[in-house]
């Protein structure tokens, strides 16, 4: 209502003007009728009426909204005031932009990772099926588990299995085979995730059964790139691993999966299988209205049934099944680190606020006379506060807008050079997008900070002692007691917060250096790895795989510059398989197996290629093939853990007892012990590990392996191996009858990826710490230069009375350093308490690391000293005559 009045007042004013004209005309007529000349009648009419413009203005004013007018006036006034002091304005805006920018940056990652819901329909009812046990809960399933979960129709609407691309598939039939990411899924997969179909259909349950034939569903990307998005491609075939696959449908690009898929093929599980191998993931959709306690109760029954069918060794009594929200499962352990980072940027923002409040206080005290004059002219206290708040909000909103740009561009840049191993952020952080959440967040903290840093100075400035201020000579009067105290307190606060930040950064830097210093146990320099997908009917038995390995090794070794070539079923540091084992002849006690260890199947040159040292016994040779006696090599960690006194080389072990028919094999003689590798990353102790020759794998295990994982070629060269990669891939293609390789990465890159999270955290906290340090330096500099400027007279008198320049300088330094010292003490206390939240980030460094807690305060003191030095120097240059004459 009142807004309408406000917005249409221009047209109303036109009406009024016309009405007044009409009135004047009538009045003129009346005067003329009394016999006046038309000129005189007109004059009289105007005299009677008065000034029409002032009438219109009168009406205009009460058609307006007072608060809007006031706001507009305050805003114009603020802009005018700020533009008069460009130096102050620019520094304040930059400080706010940094403070808000880092918050926007961290929040936009939190938004993408924690807050945004999964893009599937009704994501809250999606759960991931988990195995629970004393060590916590983890995903992963075998066919018997999938089968039993699938039957729990009282709580689940749909249950679907899928893998993450595993071995990869080769599109054949063209000039060059192409390796693509083919995700195996069960028939319900697409309906579970509500995948939108652009052409054709998804798999039928008949197609997902053991003799369902070769069918595939294409992704939008592959459909576009290979078929030009032609809908007629549905019903035709695509050659995968030399076999024709019927294309039954295409999925829309809106469907986003964790591992991007090029195409999907059905698992075609035999639901009667007793295969105990875990090689896929299962998710489910809860029935509407089903609660988590109901699901868990139902899954307890399912676990009992599982034990009854497959034997009590198949699932230990203290283990069972459970569910986790799919969103939570995807986020994983990222939540806590991100919240700690949010806490850290909160500190940066507080420092920025303290800094700007400080600048505003200084500004306000030099404007004391201005405020006193206004108060004397009748401005109320609330009007002065409002005026000052408008100023600080203008600063914070401009700074916030700049911070939004800075923070968003900054985080995208940071993620593109170091994705930090964070889930859900997309390729190089592409899923971190600007949305309404981020805009609202930035607007919100901009307003809050504007009020926060503006209110203190505004309140203190609006309590002028009128008479005292107006009677003071000039603006150079001493700083008010209150404002001086306040500013010192702000500087102390800045120092303390900065110290906490920098100690945090120091701990993370030390962690990162420690991680870098860890010997991973294998060579990474000049080593490259590439994946070859052994999918298809050719590689269902061990012998043909071993043949490709032998030929490929020979041909790759012939490439000039190549020093060594190894092959394995998984890469160090890139995740691998685990197997249980028994020591032949050793009593097992209560547990079903003697132990568990990481499991590699490798070629005979693997240890040479990665320079993993042989500590005892012998290494594998080319003769350790299917015809030779079964052998195994273990690492030192396994020897130490399972043969604390005995000699492993005298023992034989049985790998994978009771793991199902795929793993059935005879016992293996331990023939050697090799050095440990840090497979779980440099921050984890080496796992026990066993290695068997690739050529000695049971056929069924090779077939399974070919499905779930590619074969990794590991090549060490004299020169940068990337320069050789095209000749190596050509050699391997020749040796394998045309198989392509993919995922070509140096081991240095893989190692860097392993510490990416730590590097990301370290980088961020270092940036925050540095920003804090810079602002604290500006803060203490500002306070001290202001105090020197205010005390020019006092310094002049002291000098005139014979004080030494050096003693004046020291006096200023003492004052500044006193503030610093208090800040450092408070900050150290704070850090003592706060660094415990960093414990899970640290490696090789204690939360109360003496180096961080000694070096950081010294660094802060040094920075403070150097920023106090300039005003201190200035104090010695005060000319007593000038200073006194100013009086």
């Amino acid at each position: 209502m009142s807004f309408r009045r406000f917005t249409n007042r221009t047209s109303k004013d036109q009406d009024l003007a016309e009405e007044i004209d009409s009135h004047l005309a009538h009045s003129q007529d009346a005067h003329a009728a009394r016999g006046l000349s038309s000129e005189e009648a007109r004059r009289q009419a105007y005299v009677r009426f008065g000034n029409p413009r002032s009438t219109r203005e009168h009406v205009w004013r009460y058609r307006s909204l007072p608060w809007l007018e006031d706001l507009w006036r305050d805003l114009r006034f603020a802009l005018r005031g700020l533009s008069k002091t460009p130096g102050f304005t620019i520094i304040a805006i930059l400080v706010i932009a940094v403070g808000i920018g880092v918050n926007t940056a961290v929040f936009s990652v939190i938004n993408a990772v924690l807050l945004k819901l999964l893009t599937y329909p009704d994501p809250q009812s999606l759960v991931q099926m988990r195995n629970t046990g004393p060590q916590g809960s983890f995903p992963g399933a075998n066919i018997p588990k999938f089968n039993i979960w699938h039957q729990q129709t009282s709580v689940f609407q749909q249950v679907a299995a899928y893998d993450f691309g595993g071995a990869g598939l080769n599109i054949t039939g063209g000039d060059h085979p192409e390796q693509v990411q083919g995700i195996h899924v069960s028939a319900d997969y697409f309906s579970l995730f509500g995948a939108p179909i652009v052409a054709g259909r998804t798999f039928t349950s008949a197609e997902d059964s053991p003799h369902g034939g070769h069918v595939t569903v294409l992704s939008y990307g592959l459909w576009k790139s290979r078929y030009g998005a032609d809908p007629k491609v549905v019903g035709t075939t695509i050659q995968l691993d030399g076999q024709p696959y019927l294309i039954v449908g295409v999925i829309d690009r809106r469907f986003v999966t964790d591992t991007p898929a090029d195409l999907w093929v059905p698992f075609q599980f035999d639901m009667n299988s007793q295969d105990m191998a875990h090689y896929f993931t299962v998710s489910a959709r809860l029935k509407p209205g089903v609660t988590l306690p109901q699901v868990n109760a139902q899954l307890r029954l399912a676990a009992d049934e599982y034990r009854r069918i497959y034997g009590k060794d198949s699932l230990p009594a203290n283990s069972g099944f459970g569910v986790a929200s799919l969103q939570e499962a995807t986020i994983g352990d990222t939540r806590f680190p991100l919240l700690v980072l949010l806490g850290a940027v909160g500190f940066v923002l507080l420092i920025a606020c303290a800094n700007v409040a400080n600048l505003l206080l200084a500004r306000a005290s030099s404007r004391k006379r201005e405020f006193a004059t206004r108060a004397a002219l009748g401005a109320g206290r609330s009007q002065i506060i409002r005026q000052l708040l408008t100023e600080s909000l203008t600063l914070s909103l401009v700074g916030g807008a700049l911070g939004l740009i800075l923070g968003f561009a900054g985080v995208r840049f940071l993620l593109s050079i170091n994705p930090g191993n964070i889930p859900r952020i997309g390729e190089d952080g592409s899923a971190v997008t600007l949305d309404i959440n981020i805009l609202l967040f930035t607007l919100g903290i901009s307003l809050l900070t504007g009020i926060f840093f503006g209110l203190l100075p505004a309140i203190s400035a609006s309590q002028p002692n009128l008479a005292a201020t107006l009677n003071e000579n000039g603006s150079r009067s001493g700083i008010g007691f209150r404002s001086g105290k306040l500013r010192s307190a702000l500087v102390i606060g800045e120092m303390a917060l900065t110290l906490v930040l920098v100690i945090g950064a120091a701990l993370l830097i030390r962690t990162f250096l420690k991680l870098q210093a860890v010997d991973t146990g294998f060579a990474t320099h000049n080593v490259i790895s590439m994946a070859m997908s052994m999918s298809g009917d050719r590689f269902q038995k061990t012998a043909p795989v071993a043949l490709v390995v032998r030929d490929g090794t020979d041909r790759a070794l012939a490439v000039p510059g190549v020093v060594d070539v190894g092959v394995s079923n998984c890469l160090p540091m890139a995740g691998g398989f685990g197997m249980s084992f028994d020591v032949v002849g050793r009593p097992k006690g209560n547990s079903p197996f003697a132990g568990g260890a990481g499991f590699y199947s490798i070629s005979w040159r693997y240890f040479n290629a990665l320079k993993i040292p042989l500590l005892r016994g012998r290494s594998f040779t080319e003769q350790d093939n299917g015809a030779a006696p079964n052998v195994v090599i273990i690492n030192q960690a396994m020897a130490r853990q399972y043969w604390p006194k005995g000699d492993p080389l005298k023992d034989r072990i049985q790998i994978g007892p009771g793991a199902g028919p795929a793993f059935a094999e005879g016992p293996r003689q331990v023939v050697g012990i090799v050095g440990d590798t840090h497979d779980g990353g440099p921050n984890r102790d080496p796992f026990p590990m066993m290695y068997i020759p690739l050529a000695q794998m049971p056929d069924l295990e090779t077939a399974l392996n070919s499905r779930v994982a590619p074969l990794w070629w590991i090549i060490r060269s004299q020169v940068d191996p990337r320069t050789l990669s095209s000749s190596i891939t050509a050699a391997l293609r020749d040796a394998s009858g045309g198989l392509p390789v993919a995922h070509i990465r140096t081991m240095d890159e893989i190692e860097a990826r392993n510490t990416a999270r730590q590097r990301f955290n370290m980088l961020l906290l270092t940036i925050f710490g540095f920003a804090g340090l810079l602002m604290a330096a500006i803060g203490v500099y500002g306070v001290m230069s202001y105090s020197v400027q205010q005390r020019t007279q006092e310094l002049g008198v002291r000098m005139a009375l014979g004080a030494q320049a050096s003693s004046l300088r020291n006096m200023v330094i003492r004052q500044g350093m006193a503030l610093t010292l208090i800040g450092v003490l408070i900050g150290t206390g704070g850090a003592f308490w706060l660094t415990r939240f960093l414990a899970s980030f640290l490696f090789g460094v204690k939360t109360l690391d003496p180096i961080a807690f000694i070096v950081t305060p010294l660094l802060l003191a040094a920075v403070a000293l150097s920023s106090i030095w300039i005003p201190a120097k200035r104090a010695t240059r005060v000319d007593p005559m000038t200073a006194l004459r100013l009086e």
Binding site: D15, S22, H26, D29
Partner: protein
């Protein structure tokens, strides 16, 4: 002949009453009517007549529409609304109360 200013606060009452009697008038006619009825004692200050009319429009006591006068001029005619009539009763009783009170004070005892 001296003319007196309208006592503050009574302009609304005068306008409302005028419109109640004459139903539909434009601004000049309102001013004229008040002056004639008061036998030229009350002088409507024309500069404040229009702001008052604007306020009354906003409060919904009167409505206005453009029309043509007998002399073939455009003019804006005001009429009373139901709210305006209520307001007139209110203003009238207020005025009488005050007048009564003032009279009691100034009357010789």
């Amino acid at each position: 002949m001296s003319r007196d200013e309208i006592p503050p606060g009574t302009l609304y009452l005068l306008i409302l009453k005028t419109l109640a009697v004459r139903k539909k008038l434009h601004g000049y006619e309102i001013a004229e009517f008040i002056e004639q009825q008061s036998e030229d004692v009350l002088q409507v200050e024309e500069g404040s007549l229009y702001p008052a009319l604007q306020r009354m429009l906003m409060k919904g006591w009167v409505v206005a529409e453009w029309g043509v006068t007998a002399g073939n001029r455009r003019a804006r005619y005001y009429t009373l609304t139901a709210d305006g009539k209520k307001q007139l009763a209110l203003e009238l009783s207020k005025f009488q109360r005050i007048m009564g009170a003032v009279t009691k004070v100034v009357q010789p005892a």
